[in-house]
Symmetry: C2
Subunit: 380 residues, 2 copies
Amino acid sequence: MLQTFVLFLHSVNTSVGAVGPNESGCGNAVKKNQKETIYDIAAKAGASASTVSAALNGTWEKRRISRATAERIIAIAREQGYSINLQARALRTSRSGLVALLVPEYNRFFSSIAQTFSDEVRARNQCPVIISTGRDTQKEHDTVTDLMSWSIDAIFFVGAVAPDELSRQCQSADIPHVFVDQPCDLAPSVVTDSRTGARILTREILSSMTHRGVRIGESPRDTIYFLGGDRRLPSTRNRVEGFSDAVYAHVGHLEPEQVIAETYDLDAATESIAALYRKMGGLPRGLFINSDSVFEGALRFLATLPEAELAECSMGCFDYEPLGQLLRFPVHMMRQRHKMLVQRAFTLLEDKSPPVTEMVQPELYPAPGSRDPEGRAFSR
Amino acid sequence: MLQTFVLFLHSVNTSVGAVGPNESGCGNAVKKNQKETIYDIAAKAGASASTVSAALNGTWEKRRISRATAERIIAIAREQGYSINLQARALRTSRSGLVALLVPEYNRFFSSIAQTFSDEVRARNQCPVIISTGRDTQKEHDTVTDLMSWSIDAIFFVGAVAPDELSRQCQSADIPHVFVDQPCDLAPSVVTDSRTGARILTREILSSMTHRGVRIGESPRDTIYFLGGDRRLPSTRNRVEGFSDAVYAHVGHLEPEQVIAETYDLDAATESIAALYRKMGGLPRGLFINSDSVFEGALRFLATLPEAELAECSMGCFDYEPLGQLLRFPVHMMRQRHKMLVQRAFTLLEDKSPPVTEMVQPELYPAPGSRDPEGRAFSR
DNA sequence: CCTCGGTGCACAATCGATGTTGCAAACATT
DNA sequence: AATGTTTGCAACATCGATTGTGCACCGAGG
């Protein structure tokens, strides 16, 4: 993960670790096992527990402990391999040093988020706790309840299903929190600008259809479909809107059936695209795929088709999948800036921001060999 | 994640949650914010704190509290939205209810492991803590030190770099632990049988080379290369051995330069394969890719080549990557059984197993259209 | 010599839950 | 009625760190 990962809240001094593989060279290694406390250290240093506490947690200057005493204590603690009991600290201070990240599941996007999150948390000398809630409202709620029992210091919600209720729950327990990739009216949020992103991606797909000579709207197959996601969720809704914007601007009309957005489920995606294929007797000429999991699901079906058929369909995926650019057919992708999302979220949290929603633009990764709207070939 | 996620250790009774969005309908919602304790509940129930404690944590029968009293207390706690302070419990009992998983990074394989791990932990009413240590010995050590401060109940190490030292560290603090995907002599371990797996995968690659008419060994390019991973790590070592076994059995000899295994780094993989290509004036006819990250790195270079060149190389990847089967060229894959790995690890831990190493066989996913050793076409 | 403002530290009260111990009352036994 | 034996619960010490308070001691100033 990151740097030294000192869990301790205050000063680096506290981390007096390095127990070493076993400093007792004596054959019958008497593990000085069970925990030493500040009282033990105090005894060995000829000081009081409170002095030891102050020395070790870095508050010794404020508490007017002499530098000499503090350093002596720190040295002893280090050599004894003392390790603080964080439950005791948390109980006393009612701050646990735990920061939670709730994600719907562990896919590529959320894993990236998790990685960045962990790094940031540990850079702050706190401990990241990452939990997935499977897009289930009840689990989200229960998880927060449980985190409260841990005196959690802050919670980051990613793609929460019921943000408002979660926010109320956190507020009632005074837990600082932010939402990522899913806006909430009641708390600060950082989201990808899905609507704009979807508009751009759709435009890209449409443009590549045009370049392939498709006359959009001429037949039912000569159009673009939106596949996957859950239209009850804002992110999907925004993407559908961006998609619609672009389609309207380019084509002038959009049939309801062109948007298939009931679920993020992988198998459902496989089935949807297969059904579409059967119904139309072939792939549509354009396809907007709503996320990497939907992408994977769709690919299960697409992989069964001959290449020639795939070549007839221009695709775009609202997510970045590195291997996606190496498929047997071109796919445009929108990459969410996960690092920026998380870092902005930290900023909002630390600034005790009011309930604003920050937008982060995703990046377009055009399919290799595709052309930009002006017709120049992209080079990546 | 999973089911109800009651963090509480003992009985379900303890979970008296469901604060509800706000049961105080009164306009000026006076958040009954700051925590209620068992003392408050005790006062309201006309009982003592110890009785409340017993009632709530399910030990009331043992403590000979009458059912009537217990149920009254539980009802009050529920209606007050009482939430236990787990730090206090952990301090008192010196069991935190936290179970940690240390992974090198968040890639697809480790994320799958993490998901299974989380589910299992939560099924046991404990709290999963997942931390990545970036394959850094020092970070591993420090992380364990910190986890000790949390009175962690158990640690799962996945792909640890220095297992022996970690095990000693855990032993000296009496922390139950297991190793996954990386054996340790001092503690129970569950690993993928890399050697056998690599042998099978290599055989598959060689056989597909043969079917393509390659006469192995005839020219420097008419052979198979091993790419990526860190030969200082047992998993890579075992894969190299399995690779060597198969090559020796099939070809009779193996040049040292056929094995490139210095690092898992993605960029290094890109560079390695590019260098190989330059040196030999083309791709080797066979390529064993050591992990999904190496795969991704290699693909960055491979994607720049014309398809005709890719078609000349038989590839195998020791990891499963769903999109890998949909590339413009066939790739055999070995899938590690992540779920089984984790579940076995739990079993070993719960049985307080001695330091044994359990092997789990990976599954071969042959490239679509490839043939098994007897020459029959695979059908998937 | 006596007070006064720093220093430098020890004491003791917390934080909230657990669990051992002990003590009433209720009931049973002879 | 006197003596066990349950039943049902309250008191209290405890886990280990933090922190408000107080009190010695020191040198300086009057």
